[in-house]
């Protein structure tokens, strides 16, 4: 399964990633990080296509990392 790793403390809760995900895999978590922002939460591994749109839209350099499932040695 694909996965999007969220670094809670780098997310500023702008919700842009939530709005761009075509599969609805992201949502606000309802919890605040150390900066005081409500950070985002990835919850829908089955639907994620690892398209990267969430990563590309997010203004933060490393708040999100998209991991794709594939054959590895």
């Amino acid at each position: 399964m694909n996965h999007v790793r969220v670094r809670d403390d780098e997310c500023k809760g702008c919700a842009v990633c939530v709005s761009v995900c075509p599969k609805g895999c992201l949502a606000m978590s309802g919890k605040l990080n150390t900066m005081g922002y409500e950070y985002v939460h990835f919850f829908h591994e089955e639907a994620c296509t690892a398209c990267g749109l969430c990563f590309l839209s997010c203004p933060e350099p490393s708040a999100l990392t998209v991991l794709a499932e594939q054959e590895v040695e």
Partner: protein, 478 residues
């Protein structure tokens, strides 16, 4: 075996941590949902993909993105407001292999820096410009930018931007399109995923063009400033998509293979100076022999004044050149009105045994006046015991001051007798140097060819020096 591999993640072109606010910091200083962050990631990714991290020099502007140098692990220069294209020109011309990125906001590029961007584009500098159009001055708290839409309320347009009072919003991509030299012009946006992917491509292309040395590439990117727009980050993107693009239509404006030279004009091979030629040029003064024997008895604070066209400034140049050739410290400061000829002009020259601090001469100890108004103007400014030389061919009155030494010479007449229409300045300088003994006459003769523009008159000028000497002797002045 099935596993997970990273498909999208932090760019190598970013530093691991950003030491702006403190050690270990990983997030940027941008507001939540700011377009700068998104665009800078796209640029970082393109730098990674094109493998140009160690060649890239990123120029950050003044504006919210001023701190880009905390993020990009590339070469960085922070430029003064609006001047990045000028800095880019210098950097690129010096380090031809560098990939120079000028990253600028709309206040920076379309406001204070309009001149720099237009001329860099017109010269077709082979650089890449990313123009971040968020239609507002972000950093300073939301003042109107040249790109602000009509009717839009900002700090400086509290009732909305008004066409007559504030002018129309500026389309910079359109303006670039009016210039022949750029090779690539595109306007894109980060409002939607679809546009974002187009932006990614344009960023890539604009950098590839520079790698291929094609010419000037300009990418305008519509970008949200949720903070100053007073919108949520998501609403800001919707507004951009639905409203801002009406004013600023997206698309490619130009993508040409090479620089367009569609205007007639002679293309001459540019003159490139190598280091040796430059050194020679700077050593031009080495033509001037340095050979001072006697110390100056007194620092010479010389004022030469007359009307434009009388050779006032070149008289000063001659005195200064003589001083240099004697190994003295000199300064030369011209002053003239908007009209180069006909108006009044004066020059201040200082000759000194020590370094000259200010080149201003407020209280001369030597005054050379070539016409009447100059005498009226400067007579009271000279110090006691000053030497005052008056061109008596033109100045009809006498010097009123009695505490100075005055020398009257019919300089214009002497010059005309020697067959020179406008060489009264040479007579005046000769008289000054002879009487003051500040500079030997031989030095003067050696320096005249260095200053004289019309070389054909050299012999006549040199004999005018002799003639002046004879005149002063005949009249018992030396």
């Amino acid at each position: 075996m099935i596993g997970q591999v990273q498909k999208f993640g932090k760019s190598d072109s970013f530093y691991d941590t950003y030491e702006r606010k403190g050690e270990g910091e990983q997030s940027t200083h941008y507001c939540p949902g700011c377009g700068h962050g998104t665009i800078q990631k796209l640029i970082a990714q393109a730098i990674d993909d094109l493998k140009i991290q160690d060649r890239t020099i990123f120029l950050s502007p003044v504006g919210c993105s001023v701190f880009a140098y905390y993020y990009y692990d590339t070469g960085n220069i922070q430029c003064s407001h609006g001047r990045a294209p000028a800095v880019a020109t210098g950097v690129k011309r010096t380090v031809k292999d560098a990939i120079v990125i000028s990253y600028q906001g709309d206040g920076d590029l379309a406001g204070i820096g309009m001149t720099e961007i237009v001329h860099a584009a017109n010269r077709g500098e082979p650089i890449t410009v990313f123009f971040i159009n968020n239609a507002i001055y972000g950093m300073t708290g939301g003042q109107m930018a040249p790109t602000t839409p009509l009717g839009r309320k900002t700090l400086t347009t509290p009732f909305g931007r008004d066409r007559d009072r504030d002018g129309m919003p500026m389309g910079m991509a359109e303006l670039m399109q009016a210039i022949a030299a750029p090779v690539f012009i595109e306007r894109c946006s980060v409002a939607t995923p679809k546009e974002l992917l187009k932006t990614r491509k344009a960023v890539h292309k604009a950098l590839q063009n520079q790698i291929d040395n094609k010419g000037f590439s300009f990418v305008e990117i519509l970008s949200p400033c949720p903070t100053n727009w007073g919108m949520s980050p998501v609403d800001a993107r919707t507004w951009m998509d639905q409203q801002m693009t009406l004013l600023y239509p997206l698309g490619n404006f130009r993508d040409s293979v090479t620089k367009q030279d569609d205007r007639p004009g002679d293309q001459e091979e540019p003159l490139w100076l190598d280091d040796e030629a430059l050194v020679d040029l700077l050593k031009g003064a080495s033509d001037v022999p340095v050979m001072r024997m006697e110390p100056l008895s007194e620092t010479q604070r010389v004022k030469i004044a007359g009307f434009g066209g009388q050779g006032v400034l070149s008289a000063g140049e001659l005195v200064a050149t003589c001083g240099m050739s004697e190994g003295l410290a000199v300064s030369w400061l011209p002053s003239y009105g908007p009209e180069m000829r006909g108006g009044s002009a004066n020059v201040s020259v200082t000759l000194s045994m020590e370094d000259v601090g200010s080149p201003l001469v407020d209280h001369p100890n030597v005054l050379l006046v070539m016409n009447g108004p100059s005498l009226d103007h400067f007579e009271d400014q000279v110090v006691e015991n000053a030497l005052v030389f008056v061109n008596s061919s033109i100045v009809t009155r006498k010097v009123r001051r009695t505490d100075v030494r005055t020398i009257y010479i019919p300089a214009t007449d002497l010059a005309q007798e020697a067959g020179l229409v406008s060489a009264a300045n040479v007579v005046m300088v000769t008289a000054y140097l002879l009487l003051s003994k500040a500079i030997p006459l031989d030095t003067l003769k050696r320096c005249i060819p260095l200053v004289l523009r019309k070389k054909a008159f050299l012999e006549k000028n040199l004999s005018l020096v002799e003639r002046t000497m004879v005149y002063l002797q005949e009249n018992g002045m030396v």
